[in-house]
Symmetry: C2
Subunit: 360 residues, 2 copies
């Protein structure tokens, strides 16, 4: 088992990474506040992984409430969040009851927000079961639900007491979700960790084959990278923006096609190639560098070209993204492969040309 | 103008107490994060006080969004909270937009919760306009909405940047609401501030006549008392429980009659007399002390006897109150007039007898 410590001003917590952790109640029980817990999961994950977790916790004497939500981003909303509150109140869960999220980023974000607000805050443990949630939402303490007028508009910063990253859960993840998660993993290599990028280039096949040791290492390096960035910049003013590599272009793809048509990670992959292309136009990358960026994403089964929405439409949608400041497009580019940079003086012509050169 | 500083671990803020503060944009503007703010109020308060605040802020160059909610505790719920989010998102309010609550405890609690969760937290300023909210919700950072299965079950701790206590707003408050607020004011005297109790005994008529200087002093002493208690015990384990004098008995009255039949402060008043009666039975107070407790509450126009629900029913309802621990009734009693005590070994017989002696 590997451990990454997330060191944050208010509160630090460990991410335990390994195999068979769902069945290891001894890892989880010391982080409960009392012997009472509520597991929140969804209809897809419950049949696959709930029994393992339930059995080990029950054997350890934990009294459990189980709350099974409908699946999907479309349910990351208030009525579904309220099902958590209904379940907690119906079972008379107390302020000391620990909430355990078992699922992907949607379950993690909603359960975290429920934990932040149930009786003004109860203990929270996260068990992410998608690659994306393992490498992204497990660090940073962001929780939220969507509002019809915007994604993640209602939420809180709330840190878990423990993250249990059971690599075995990834064996049941749909292929396309695994690949989408890899887009965020590779991103850490691009923006700040060249040795990790090289390791990924050498071990991508093992990751795609879901080799547990390779997955565990990739999750560990990703969490370390995110934790370092977040710790250096908790308030999201500076370096943390680097985590948005590919995201502003990707946001235009998601919004332009309608959210859910492409997976987030797929849009980020194509967006990353656009960012690399623009970096080359601005003299920061060579064309060999751009090819390198494109190649690893393609090997991971991710799209390296975006849909042909037209550069004007892309730019219009990018302007609506919240990372826009004072009318200027503030983009994350690559100064080198392995080093991201916040850049806000690219001309609209260069941006449009980079987009056009990366659309199918 | 008087100022009480609320010193809390995470964040301190001032309560400015005085007259004409709604019209004094210069007091408020320095606490805004940008020149953009959203005022949240309700249909009763808006016609009385919104124009004064709006005009002064507009004259100071603040760009305003106004959100007017339906009135009443029945609307302290998710659909109404969502009207705040609708308004903020519809007006494209940003993470730097300051939310200003203008109203009683319902508006304060809901707006505070909206501020805690809109885009994971935006700046918050509170302008309480009821006596209860001035002396109680303005200190402590509790925000919440109700759930059908419980009051204040969903919320957050979230501190305002500033509380503006404009005593003039109390001139329009219904008589019954003023008196209900006095129950909480007098409570501070009973549990920890004998000199303040003596002042209240001497100045109750001035308060009932809404003399601004008397009201300002009572608000100041109340806020100081609550701030001291909260600062000494932010996590609600010890001394803070003293603030619940009369509340467990009062809760039984509110729940037994159905919430809203008696005002909260009215139930607290009758509950306080029961607590005093029980304290006398346990040898802590003299019968003259009990008379003194009863007398000031009666002079404030508050009930000193509870409805005849039967002592068994009272005790059953008190057991359901969340302050119950391990089956024992943990009550706040008076060791002396001016000194509250947490007491958990009163016999059910004594509790029942105290209740019976205080029911109409
Ligand atoms: N909090 C953060 O910092 C953060 C960071 C990134 C993304 N997010 C949020 O995360 C969400 C996306 O997360 P996601 O990609 O995990 O989506 P998701 O939670 O919807 O999971 C994707 C799909 O995989 C299923 N699934 C989950 N685990 C499985 C398993 N082990 N086996 C089989 N199927 C499984 C899910 O039920 C779902 O159908 C978004 O709402 C996003 O806003 C949050
Ligand atoms: N956050 C805390 O620490 C805390 C503490 C105590 C109570 N509370 C909450 O506060 C709420 C009760 O507060 P409340 O007693 O202020 O009730 P309230 O907000 O419902 O106000 C009472 C009535 O007076 C009206 N009103 C308000 N200001 C007025 C004015 N200046 N002139 C005329 N009418 C006015 C209101 O619209 C309402 O009809 C409860 O929901 C309770 O849970 C919170
Ligand atoms: Zn992402
Ligand atoms: Zn009260």
């Amino acid at each position: 088992m590997r451990t990454v410590n997330v060191a944050l001003a208010e509160r630090s917590y460990p991410i335990r990474i390994g195999r068979g952790l769902l069945a290891s109640a001894d890892l989880l029980v010391p982080s409960l506040k009392t012997s009472r817990a509520a597991i929140v999961t969804n209809e897809v994950v419950a049949p696959l992984h709930l029994a393992t977790l339930r059995d080990s916790l029950k054997a350890a004497g934990v009294s459990l409430t189980e709350i099974v939500l409908p699946d999907g981003e479309a349910h990351k909303d208030w009525p579904t969040l309220n099902l958590i509150f209904d379940g907690l109140l119906g079972a008379r869960c107390e302020r000391s009851t620990t909430l355990i999220a078992l699922g992907g980023g949607v379950i993690g974000d909603m359960t975290g927000f429920a934990a932040a607000t149930y009786q003004r805050g109860v203990p929270f443990i996260q068990i992410p079961t998608t690659l994306l949630s393992l490498v992204d939402s497990s660090v940073g303490g962001k929780t939220a639900i969507n509002h019809p007028l915007g994604k993640n508009m209602i939420g809180a910063f709330y840190q878990p007491r423990l993250v249990l990253a059971d690599i075995d859960t990834l064996q049941t993840l749909p292929e396309q979700e695994l690949k989408a998660g890899l887009a965020e993993v590779i991103k850490y290599g691009f923006i700040r960790d060249l040795p990790f990028l090289e390791w990924l280039e050498a071990n991508l096949d093992a990751l795609l084959a879901r080799d547990p040791a390779a997955l565990a290492y990739a999750v560990e390096r990703s969490c370390i990278n995110k934790a370092e960035v977040v710790a250096a910049d908790e308030t999201e003013q500076g370096e943390r923006a680097l985590l948005n590599l590919g995201h502003t272009f990707g946001h235009a793809i998601e919004a332009g096609l309608g959210f859910g048509v492409w997976l987030h990670g797929e849009a980020v992959a194509a967006g990353t190639v656009m960012a690399a292309e623009l970096s080359a136009r601005l003299g920061m990358l060579s064309s060999a560098d751009v090819t390198r960026v494109r190649r690893i994403l393609e090997r991971a089964g991710l799209p390296s070209v975006g849909p042909r929405l037209g550069a004007d439409r892309y730019i219009e949608l990018m302007r609506h993204d919240k990372k826009v400041e004072a009318g200027r497009l503030r983009l994350i580019l690559l100064q080198q492969v392995g080093q991201g940079i916040i850049y806000d003086s690219a001309s609209l012509e260069d941006i449009a040309a980079a987009i056009d050169s990366c659309c199918a």
